[in-house]
C-alpha cells in the first residue's frame, strides 16, 4: 500500500543541476514509488530513465527502449484511484504519485504447432487456444494495450473465424503481455494473435507470383554469367555502372 507518510522534501545533493533539461528532465520534482519505496525524480523523465536516475541497473524490464519490443511493461496505481494503469516504461513520463510495478516476465504458455499442418480457420485457433471462447467482453485487454489495439474485438473476430480481419487488427501488437495479465478468462492474447497473423500471411494472403519466378530464374543461373563478369571487372566498372543505374538507365555487362 502507498506510504501515507509525507515524502522527504530535501533534494538529494549532487547531480540535480546537471540533469535539468537533458532528456526532458525539468526543474520540478515528482514523487514516485518503486517497489513500495518513495523517491523524488525530476518531472519529465520517462519511467525507465527515472529508475536509472535512481540507481537501478536494469536487467529485466528493459529492451529496445523505443516502444517496439514490449519488454518494459509497467503497471501502476495512482493515489485515491482504484484503477490499475499500464504502459511502457520507455515511453511513459512519470507522474506525481505513481506507484510502480515493473513486470519482469509475463507467464504465458505458447502452444506448439506445425504451421504446415494447420488450416486458416477459427476452429483451428480455438482448438489450440480454447480459452479464447471464454471471453466475457469485459474489454480489460483493450484498456491496457499500449498500442491501442481493439484487443477484445480482435478476439471476437477470431471466435467468428474472421482470420484476415483479426490479423490486420492485431498487426501492431508488440507482445508486451499487459492484456493477458488482466484477462479474467486467462487468454494469452499475444500468442493467439501470433498464430492468427501467421495463418493469414501463409494461407490467406495471395502469393507473390513475380517472386516465385525470380527465385526460379536465380536457381537456374540466369544471373551467374553477368555477376561473374561484373565482379571480375572491378571497382571502376562498378562505379560507372552504379551511377548509370542511379539515373534509371539500363545496365549491361
Amino acid at each position: 500500500m502507498p506510504n501515507t507518510v509525507e515524502p522527504v522534501k530535501e533534494v538529494r545533493t549532487g547531480k540535480k543541476k546537471e540533469i535539468q533539461g537533458a532528456l526532458g528532465a525539468g526543474k520540478r520534482m515528482v514523487t514516485i514509488y518503486v517497489m513500495g519505496k518513495w523517491y523524488e525524480v525530476p518531472a519529465g523523465l520517462t519511467i525507465l530513465k527515472a529508475l536509472e536516475y535512481l540507481g537501478y541497473r536494469l536487467v529485466r524490464g528493459v529492451g529496445c527502449r523505443a516502444g517496439f519490443c514490449g519488454a518494459c511493461t509497467t503497471m501502476w496505481v495512482k493515489k485515491n484511484d482504484y484503477r490499475l494503469y499500464s504502459g511502457l516504461a520507455c515511453q511513459t513520463i512519470v507522474e506525481d504519485g505513481m506507484y510502480l510495478v515493473q513486470i519482469p516476465f509475463v507467464p504465458a504458455e505458447k502452444r506448439l504447432y506445425d504451421i504446415e499442418e494447420l488450416e486458416p480457420t477459427g476452429s483451428v485457433v480455438l482448438a489450440l487456444y480454447p480459452e479464447v471462447a471464454r471471453c466475457i467482453g469485459c474489454n480489460s485487454c483493450t484498456k491496457v494495450c499500449p498500442q491501442e489495439i481493439q484487443v477484445m474485438d480482435a478476439i471476437q473476430e477470431i471466435i467468428r473465424g474472421n482470420i484476415e480481419k483479426a490479423a490486420r487488427m492485431v498487426f501492431d501488437c508488440i507482445a508486451c503481455g499487459s492484456c493477458s495479465l488482466r484477462c479474467p478468462a486467462e487468454i494469452k492474447h499475444f500468442h493467439v494473435f501470433q498464430l492468427v497473423r501467421r495463418l493469414y500471411g501463409k494461407y490467406i494472403a495471395p502469393k507473390a507470383k513475380h517472386l516465385e519466378r525470380r527465385v526460379k530464374e536465380i536457381e537456374e543461373g540466369k544471373y551467374d554469367g553477368a555477376l561473374d563478369r561484373l565482379i571480375k571487372a572491378g571497382p571502376d566498372k562498378w562505379r560507372e555502372l552504379a551511377e548509370k543505374a542511379q539515373k534509371g538507365e539500363e545496365v549491361e555487362i
Partner: protein
C-alpha cells in the same frame, strides 16, 4: 510536456508556408566529388581525433573509434571476475554439450537455428543463448524494409551495384553476390513462414525505394518490418522446440588445444553464475554497438548492443574490418527529448517527406545514401547554423512529414507509418500535421568480424578459425563503409541461413578437443606486452546508466 514548445512555432510556420513551393521541386542530387567533400568535412567517421589504431590482436593497426578500441584493448571479463579471483570454471564437465551454439537471439540467431534444424541438427542439439529475452535485438526495431530484386525492372546485378555504391566500393564482392542472389529466396521463405508483407490485392509485393537504391525493391510490413519478421522467426524456433537460454550472455569463447573454438562460457545475468557450453560449431549473431555512444551520439539501438561478439571473436584471433565505419542514421528523433535518438524510419523520406532547414529550404535530396544525408544535416546545424536549437542546446532540422499526406493521399501515414504516428502522438505531436525534428543518431555497425562466403570467421592470414561462424551486424565486408536501408534485415537472414547450414555441416565432422581458456591467459599476456594499463573490462554486456540522464 506535449507537442512542440512555443519557441518552435515560428520555425514550423516557415515550414508550412514553404511547403506548397517545395512540393513542386526535387532538391538537387549531389555529385560524387561534392559527396567526398561533404563526408570529409562533416561526417563523424572522418574526424581523426575520434579514432585510433588498435594496439593489439589480429587486426593491430586498423583504425577504430576510441569507444570501440577501448573495448578491444581491455581485460577479459571472465579473467577479472573469475579466473584471477579463484572462481573455478569447470571445463571438464560442461553444463551443455551441443552441436550448434548460437550466441545472440535476434533475427540472425533465429535464422541460424532454423537452418541448422532444416539441415539435420536435432532441436536438442542446438542451444540459442541470448543476453536479454529471445528477440530482444535491433532486428525488432528495424522499421523500413528488406531489399530483394524480384521484379522485372530489377535484377540482382543492379542490386549488387547499389550495394557497392552505398559501401563506397569497398565491400567484399563475393559476400555482396551472396547477399543479392539469395535475397528473393529469403523473401519467399519468409512469405511461406507467414510474414505479412505489404501486398497488392493480387499478391504483388508493394516495394518502395530507399536511400541509395536505384530501383523499387524495399519490401515491408507496415513500418514494423523488423518486428514482423522477428516475431515470425521466433514463433517458428519455439514451435520446433529449440532450447533458448535467455538472460545468458556469452562472456568468453572456449577454445581447444588446437585453437579451434569449442563453445563458450555464458553467464546467468540474474545469478551471476557461469555456464559452460561445449559445442561443435559456434555461431556469433550478437548484433551491433549502438550503446557505446560513439562520439557521444544518441543511438537507435536496443539496450544490449554493446559489441560483445566482436570482442569475443577478437580474443580468439579473428580479424576485423571497417570498425571505424559507423553508420549514423540521418533521422533520429530530436524532439521530444525523452525519445532523443530514436529511429525515425527512412520510409518517411521514401514516401515523400523532405528535409528542411529553419529558412524553409529543402537542403539535400532526401534519398541520398545515409552517410551523405547525415553529413548534410550536420553541416546544416554546425556550419550553416540553419537548424533548430532546443533549450538544452541540441540541434535538429525538420523532416516535413505532412507532405506525405499531400503527395500520397490522406491516411497514408496511418496506413504505412503506424508506429511513427503512435510514437509521436504519445507525446502530443501529430506527424500528419506537424513536421518532425531530426538529427543524426548512432545506428549501425557497418564493419565487424571478417567472414568468408561460408560465414566462417577469418583469423590470421585470412584463414578460417575452426568451428567459428558469424552472421549479421557483427560481421563486416557485406556493406563496405556504409549500409543501405533494407540490407540489414536481408544480411541477417541470408547469412544466418548460410551460417546455419554450414554450422550443421561442420558439426557432422568437426572434432572438438579438450576445452581450454588458454586464449584468455594469452590475451592478458598480450595486454601486458603492449603496455596497456587499464581498468577496462570487456565484453561490456550492458551499458551502465545509473544516475545518468544523458542517453535515452
Amino acid at each position: 510536456m506535449s507537442g512542440y514548445p512555443p519557441e518552435f512555432r515560428e520555425s514550423i510556420k516557415v515550414i508550412e508556408e514553404t511547403r506548397e513551393e517545395r512540393l513542386k521541386i526535387t532538391p538537387p542530387r549531389i555529385s560524387p566529388e561534392e559527396k567526398e567533400e561533404l563526408l570529409r568535412k562533416y561526417h563523424p567517421d572522418y574526424k581523426k581525433e575520434a579514432k585510433r589504431p588498435i594496439k593489439i590482436g589480429a587486426s593491430k593497426g586498423e583504425y577504430a573509434p576510441h569507444e570501440v578500441a577501448n573495448l578491444l584493448e581491455a581485460h577479459s571479463y571472465l579473467y577479472m571476475h573469475a579466473l584471477s579471483n579463484g572462481v573455478e570454471i569447470d571445463l571438464e564437465d560442461p553444463d551443455f554439450d551441443v552441436d550448434v551454439l548460437i550466441i545472440g537471439g535476434g533475427g540472425g540467431g533465429a535464422t541460424t537455428a532454423l537452418w541448422a534444424l532444416y539441415n539435420g541438427v536435432p532441436s536438442d542439439r542446438i542451444l540459442l543463448a541470448t543476453k536479454l529475452r529471445f528477440g530482444d535485438a535491433n532486428t525488432k526495431m528495424a522499421q523500413g524494409g528488406i531489399q530483394a530484386a524480384d521484379r522485372e525492372y530489377d535484377s540482382p546485378v543492379i542490386h549488387f551495384l547499389d550495394v557497392m555504391r552505398g559501401g563506397h566500393y569497398t565491400n567484399n564482392p563475393d559476400l555482396v553476390r551472396i547477399l543479392v542472389t539469395n535475397a528473393p529466396f529469403i523473401i519467399k521463405w519468409l512469405e511461406d513462414l507467414g510474414v505479412m508483407f505489404d501486398k497488392e490485392p493480387d499478391g504483388t509485393m508493394i516495394e518502395v525505394s530507399g536511400g541509395g537504391t536505384s530501383r523499387l525493391r524495399m519490401h515491408s510490413a507496415g513500418d514494423y518490418t523488423g518486428l514482423e519478421i522477428m516475431r515470425t522467426l521466433m514463433d517458428e524456433v519455439l514451435n520446433r522446440e529449440v532450447r533458448v537460454l535467455e538472460f545468458s550472455p556469452a562472456v568468453e569463447l572456449i577454445t581447444d588445444e588446437e585453437g579451434n573454438v569449442a563453445g563458450a562460457v555464458l553467464m546467468n545475468l540474474e545469478t551471476e553464475r557461469y555456464i559452460v557450453v561445449r559445442a561443435k560449431s559456434t555461431v556469433l549473431t550478437t548484433g551491433g554497438f549502438g550503446r557505446l555512444h560513439i562520439q557521444g551520439f544518441q543511438t537507435t539501438n536496443h539496450y544490449g548492443a554493446t559489441m560483445d561478439g566482436v570482442v569475443l571473436a577478437y580474443r580468439v584471433g579473428a580479424q576485423i574490418r571497417d570498425l571505424d565505419s559507423v553508420q549514423y542514421h540521418p533521422t533520429g528523433a530530436a524532439w521530444p527529448l525523452q525519445i532523443a535518438g530514436q529511429l525515425v524510419t527512412e520510409k518517411v523520406r521514401s514516401l515523400g517527406a523532405q528535409l528542411v532547414n529553419v529558412e524553409g529550404e529543402a537542403f539535400v535530396y532526401p534519398l541520398e545514401p545515409r552517410d551523405v544525408v547525415a553529413a548534410a544535416i550536420i553541416r546544416e546545424c554546425e556550419d550553416r547554423k540553419k537548424g533548430v536549437i532546443t533549450h538544452v542546446g541540441t540541434c535538429g532540422v525538420w523532416l516535413d512529414s505532412p507532405m506525405i499526406e499531400i503527395i500520397r493521399g490522406e491516411g497514408t501515414i496511418e496506413r504505412y507509418l503506424p508506429a511513427m504516428l503512435r510514437q509521436f502522438l504519445r507525446f502530443g505531436i501529430d506527424i500528419r500535421k506537424e513536421p518532425i525534428l531530426v538529427y543524426p543518431t548512432l545506428h549501425y555497425q557497418n564493419g565487424g568480424i571478417k567472414i568468408n562466403t561460408n560465414a566462417q570467421v577469418l583469423g590470421d592470414g585470412g584463414r578460417p578459425i575452426g568451428n567459428l561462424f558469424a552472421a549479421g551486424e557483427v560481421t563486416g565486408g557485406v556493406h563496405g563503409k556504409n549500409r543501405l536501408m533494407g540490407n540489414s534485415l536481408l544480411e541477417i537472414t541470408v547469412f544466418g541461413r548460410i551460417a546455419g547450414i554450414n554450422a550443421a555441416k561442420n558439426a557432422k565432422h568437426s572434432h572438438v578437443g579438450k576445452l581450454t581458456l588458454k586464449h584468455v591467459y594469452k590475451w592478458e599476456e598480450m595486454l601486458k606486452q603492449a603496455g596497456i594499463e587499464t581498468n577496462r573490462v570487456a565484453p561490456m554486456i550492458l551499458p551502465d546508466y545509473r544516475g545518468d540522464v544523458k542517453y535515452r
